[in-house]
Assembly symmetry: C2
Homo-oligomer: 196 residues x 2
């Protein structure tokens, strides 16, 4: 296999990239300038040496602990549990939340062999107790796996004296009742609130 075919085979491993797109990308590389390719190649090869998981919250970071954990202006009494770093980034973009984070890097999935130890749940409980967290916000996705994981964490935290909450689930803002699915509608009924 020549270098071009080998590169195409490796590019095809990217998520959502078929052989045709990989070939197109490889041809784009062949036409782009060498300095960009050298820079990109180096960035990819050294990414995991330079970007690690924060030992405290699991966020991707260059420094350990990460800048969020080190920020004294953040509320250290609340801890928000998310599935992925992408979720953390999305929450951060809203500016709605000022506390600390805990990234699971997954959800409980017994069939895929993902158990509590893979998500660092022991560490989570220890952190809640040691740091005297007052509220744990479970922000896993409102999916079967996310709900199960949230429920499991809730039970784990029963002994710790901490308020455990879950992000509200319901109709998205700008959504349409006509196109909402049954479960979402059911949840927004159950969680309905009186108007002020």
């Amino acid at each position: 296999m020549g270098p071009l075919e080998e590169l195409v085979a490796d590019l095809s491993r990217f998520p959502g990239m078929g052989r045709k797109s990989a070939l197109r990308l490889a041809f784009y590389f062949l036409k782009t300038d060498q300095s960009f390719l050298a820079k990109l190649g180096h960035e990819i090869a050294t990414l995991r040496e330079r970007v690690r998981k924060c030992s405290r919250c699991g966020n991707y970071t260059e420094t350990d602990p990460c800048s969020l954990c080190e920020d004294p202006s953040r509320d250290s009494r609340t801890l928000c549990v998310v599935e992925q770093v992408q979720d953390l980034m999305n929450l951060q973009k809203t500016g709605e939340y000022q506390g600390l984070y805990f990234v699971l890097h997954g959800v409980l999935a017994p069939l895929d062999g993902v158990g509590p130890q893979d998500l660092g749940l022991e560490k989570l409980v220890r952190r809640v107790v040691e740091e005297r967290i007052e509220e744990v916000i479970l922000a896993t996705n409102p999916t079967l796996e996310g709900d199960t994981t949230a429920l499991y964490i809730h039970k784990l935290l029963a002994a710790a004296e901490v308020r455990v909450t879950r992000l509200a689930s319901g109709l998205p803002v700008g959504g349409d009742l006509e196109y909402a699915d049954r479960l979402t509608i059911a949840r927004s009924f159950q969680a309905r609130r009186p108007l002020d």
Copy 2:
């Protein structure tokens, strides 16, 4: 800008890749194994050193001349002119053509500053004369630019005693007259052939 943001910015330069897809790809890298990243990074950084253009036909190759030019079983009397290496590969896949190639790596586009010298047309004419090519098949795309380029090459070759042909343009096999555009229908009328 941290290494993650820098990588995302560079990945966003890929064709058809927005910021969101670039971020998704970067997160995929962060979860994949280091040996794959090191291999991929090296492949990208060294691609243009290892894969060059064949000095004879313009095909991408590790050896110069390329394996197609060096293949004695190919018919050295016909030369097929294509816009891109991708076109050459697609033609090769059909097995329909047994002659040699000339890759332009573009089309005439005066507004973008692409002139005859950028496509190596002098070299093409010299090759046709020196190698006593008997037929030049112009396989540029049936687009405005491709047609213009084909016409230009045709004129350039007027002095050389060589048969110049153009790939037939018409309804694609399995296509539908109902959905064909006007120009395609017009061309298939003009190029209609008697049934045997």
